[in-house]
């Protein structure tokens, strides 16, 4: 099932399917390892609910909800 990265709950693991958003930000997100095919785990929300902490490519990355909304993931592929 395809959802937004921002919709994942703590502990959910998904596979990135599409990175959208505006040019420079999109590029930075991809450079940081969020590219189609990447396995990504939602770790937690910040205490105030935003930003969100993810684990991707073996490290911890934090993104705001608004950035995570531009990334589509599929929750089915779980190896």
């Amino acid at each position: 099932m395809e959802t937004k990265l921002s919709d994942l709950k703590s502990g959910n693991i998904a596979t990135v399917t599409k990175v959208a958003g505006s040019g420079a930000v999109k590029r930075r997100i991809a450079d940081m390892g969020i590219t189609p095919g990447a396995r990504i785990e939602m770790i937690r929300n910040a205490p105030l609910g935003d930003p969100i902490e993810f684990k991707v490519r073996g490290y911890l990355l934090t993104l705001r909800r608004s950035e995570a909304e531009d990334v589509m993931v599929s929750t089915e592929v779980q190896r």
């Binding site: 420079a24 590029r27 450079d31 490519r57 073996g58 490290y59």
Partner: protein, 232 residues
């Protein structure tokens, strides 16, 4: 002659600690957060009678700069063209760190990879076959633990070697991409001044990625229309 060496890598991987280890008396500030170093800092050391000028650069995730400090690194690597680029890789975070390594290799300069923080990698349960990595990348790879000064002599030796070696080739991408690159390289090579300043292959890759600065460079030439054909 002084060998010019640049330390580059992702933020918070240990570049400044390595700089302090190599340059006698250096006191670069070190801190456990990305973005500690914001300015390039130069220092000198001698090895086997030869003088080396080392530059500690601000960390960056790619060569597409987003902050002032990252721009310093990009400009240094692209414009100053150091003799040897030491790419400090956080071994406990290799997957993302190697991304910059690939970008650096596209520039076809002499690279030494320092696999730093081997202690942290080990505690994370990572075992890295360094030799295999070196042969896959085609560049020397040295294991280091900067905070314990482990691997510093080997690193100096590798730098010395790299300075004398021919420049390594960029990695070969899947053949469909290589076809595109090749096509663009042929077109670009027509403009001699363009390709003496930057490797043609790198320009081709950046064109495919629609890199703003490179696109602007091309617009100043007469190659514009030919290149657009490849993209049409």
């Amino acid at each position: 002659m002084t060998v010019r060496v640049a330390l580059i890598g992702n933020p918070n991987v240990g570049k400044s600690v390595i700089f302090n280890n190599l340059v006698p008396g250096a006191r670069q500030h070190v801190g456990n957060w990305p973005g500690k170093t914001v300015e390039k800092k130069t220092g000198k050391y001698r090895y086997k009678g030869e003088e080396y000028e080392l530059v500690d650069l601000p960390g960056c995730y790619s060569l597409t700069a987003r902050a002032v400090d990252e721009l310093v690194s990009r400009t240094y690597i692209l414009e100053e063209k150091p003799d040897v680029v030491v790419d400090i890789v956080d071994a406990s975070n290799v997957e993302r760190n190697l991304y910059l390594t690939l970008l650096l290799m596209e520039l076809e300069t002499n690279i030494v990879v320092a696999l730093n923080q081997m202690d942290v990698a080990k505690s994370k349960g990572y075992t890295i076959r360094t030799e295999a990595l070196a042969s896959r990348l085609g560049v020397p790879v040295v294991e280091t633990i900067a905070t314990q000064k482990v691997g510093m002599e080997k690193l100096k030796a590798a730098i010395e070697n790299a300075a004398k070696s021919p420049k390594p080739a960029s990695l070969t991408y899947p053949s469909d991409i290589e076809d595109l690159i090749e096509k663009l390289v042929t077109i670009l090579s027509a403009d001699a001044s363009l390709v003496t300043h930057h490797p043609a292959r790198w320009l081709a890759i950046k064109l495919i990625e629609r890199d703003k600065e490179v696109l602007e460079m091309i617009q100043e030439t007469t190659l514009d229309s030919k290149i657009e054909e490849v993209f049409a």
